[in-house]
């Protein structure tokens, strides 16, 4: 079921160009059949392997609803029916995002998913988890309501007691909103992209071998990712 990548040969005269080097490095690490495979090893046919994609799907809804809210503004999400609805979908997709991400984390932890030189995959997942928590906190204080005011005053005390108050002011709505809708989504997006590319490069971690048996990653396969 393998297909050979059909890439145009590089003219030797162009081999030293940075574009040729980058393209070669990309194709060596992530050939198309690895980047978007048709089949996965048989052990992937388990519900526990679904939660990574479920987290990505929830993140997609979070981003789409967040973009809508940022374009329409606070008056819209506080006063109109559609605004209430999109605001609620944003909240509940975040709940689903964290729910599925935690189940994904538990599954990968008990699989010791850092095995097989997958440490960077594991670490990018950890960074994504913590960056998402910060994004969630800045979201709470960006609601522009009494709930946000209460949370930001509590957060301000936490920041000041830890020394972070010298850099961040939770009472500064503009700063919190900017972090929430630009800096943190970009950071989470980049880390998630790196995480997914690493999963594709290294492959899905196999289960622990049973009684010396080595899980077969190549011969028995199931369709779909």
């Amino acid at each position: 079921m393998t297909a050979e990548a059909t890439t145009p040969p590089i003219d030797p005269a162009d081999a030293d160009q940075w574009s040729a080097k980058v393209r070669n490095a990309w194709l060596e690490n992530l050939p198309p059949e690895k980047l978007l495979p048709d089949r996965q090893p048989a052990y992937v046919a388990s519900w526990i392997y679904v939660f990574g994609v479920a987290t990505l799907s929830a993140l997609g809804v979070v981003i789409l609803t967040g973009l809508t809210l940022s374009l329409a503004g606070p008056a819209w999400w506080h006063e109109s029916s559609i605004g209430h609805f999109v605001n609620s979908v944003h909240l509940w997709s975040v709940e689903l995002f964290f729910f599925t991400m935690v189940v994904h984390l538990w599954g990968k932890f008990f699989m010791a998913a850092w095995r097989g030189k997958r440490a960077l995959t594991w670490m990018t997942g950890c960074v994504c988890f913590f960056a998402s928590i910060v994004a969630g906190f800045t979201g709470y204080v960006s609601q522009s309501n009494f709930d946000a005011q209460w949370i930001s005053t509590q957060a301000k005390d936490g920041f000041n007691s830890s020394g972070l108050g010298a850099f961040f002011n939770a009472l500064n709505y503009g700063q919190m909103l900017t972090l929430h809708i630009t800096v943190l989504p970009i950071a989470v997006g980049i880390v998630v992209l790196l995480h997914v590319l690493l999963v594709r490069k290294k492959g899905v971690v196999p289960p622990f071998a049973v009684a010396g048996e080595t899980p077969d990653e190549t011969t028995t396969e199931v369709a779909g990712a």
Partner: protein, 67 residues
């Protein structure tokens, strides 16, 4: 569409009223204290249940699985 969503929101709102103060589980004695909202406790229990179900429930296979 909006009317349908509004209807479902009202039905759900009638079952669980979220527009009130939070309810908390507070369990403590001389050496131990445990304090959590029922909402967070329910979410954590649901995550554990879903995690266990994901491990034990069979995954649907396509017909060509043994090919």
């Amino acid at each position: 569409m909006v009317a349908l969503l509004s209807m479902w929101t009202q039905i759900l709102g009638a079952v669980v009223n979220l527009n009130t103060e939070g309810h908390y589980l507070h369990w403590n004695n001389s050496w131990f204290s445990f304090y959590i909202s029922y909402a967070n406790l329910i979410v954590i229990i649901l995550m554990i249940v879903v995690f266990i179900l994901a491990l034990v429930l069979p995954f649907p296979h396509s017909k060509d699985r043994d090919r």
